[in-house]
Symmetry: C2
């Protein structure tokens, strides 16, 4: 039974989350597992491979989660709502892993990086498609689809940076706040295309 492999992964997740990938040594992880650092290499080819394993499976689960949420509706506004909820709640519920996945890309080799980027792009495309649909149906104001998708995703991803699982707000509560914020942000409302008053068009010098 390879229970130790799972232990190593969990300890690594904890330490990468706490101290960061580069600040965490193989010895640290081994100590956390109660084994010698050389033994790590029986289960993983390298430190980077361990990081990649964590990030890849997280990304995989993120996609699966989104698919499940989206299957609940066919109406575009409802699907967007579900997508945001999926994204937010996943990031809060699996905070450590999503935090690592979105902040330790630097640690990956070029090959592994491109694999992950590809998956991330596929994920983003789903959101862009939803925005596109919404605009086509007149539910949302026309706009820069990619920029808006980045806005939505980074907004919610950032939840993993400040969320406290034992804090005042539940995952559901935060998800709801974000849902409404995003949906309102997308919906056609007062939209100004430039700073109308001329005196505001000049940026303060710095």
């Amino acid at each position: 039974m390879a229970a130790m492999k799972e232990t190593i992964t969990q300890v690594a997740i904890d330490l990468f989350f706490q101290k960061g990938y580069f600040a965490t040594s193989i010895s640290d992880i081994a100590r956390g597992c109660g084994i010698q650092k050389a033994s790590i290499y029986y289960h993983f080819a390298s430190k980077e491979a361990l990081l990649f394993t964590i990030m890849y499976s997280t990304m995989q689960d993120l996609l699966t989660c989104l698919d499940r949420y989206l299957a609940r509706s066919t109406e575009v506004a409802e699907r967007m709502r579900a997508a945001v909820r999926s994204h937010v709640s996943f990031h809060l519920e699996r905070q450590k892993e999503t935090f690592i996945a979105s902040s330790e890309l630097r640690g990956l080799s070029p090959d592994h990086l491109s694999i992950l980027i590809e998956k991330r792009d596929a994920y983003e495309r789903i959101f862009q498609e939803l925005i596109h649909e919404g605009v086509a149906q007149g539910v949302y104001a026309a706009g820069e689809v990619k920029i808006l998708s980045y806005a939505i995703l980074t907004l919610c991803t950032a939840g993993a940076f400040w969320f406290r699982p034992d804090g005042r707000l539940s995952v559901d509560a935060v998800a709801t706040i974000y849902e409404n914020f995003v949906l309102n942000g997308l919906t056609a409302g007062q939209t100004r295309w430039s700073l109308a008053p001329a005196h505001l068009n000049q940026r303060p010098a710095l």
Copy 2:
């Protein structure tokens, strides 16, 4: 004249942005400046001190920028618009530094970290105050002020992660998109409390 100190800072900014703080060695920076690495220590006490210098002055400038923008109006919605514009445009125009400042906090010593956290909190409080005012005046829907401020700030900060200075969109264009997104997000619109079945509804505390 201490022109070299400025050169070191600029090279460090470039390298920290490209490769990250931990992946950049003092030798790398020295090579980029055309000097020996020992000479770096004539200008900076340590690698960490160099990082802190960069981050601190960036934070200082960010605050100054916001103050100048805010001084132009007294009306709350207009001030929020100006604040978002300040935040976004600063992060796009000084992309490298703001990217470093928001992604390399790990590299700081506890003392330096707390100094920066303090400054960041002061910055956030300005936004929270604006939201609070807006809610009090009925311009915005009631909501979690802190969560919303995090949402706004991280949303815009993230611009520094994907923005391409030589890309299709100008700083001003992106700032306008974000402005509208945030303002719409804050403004009272359709607000639903949860997707979950009624008996599971967890209405967030107001």
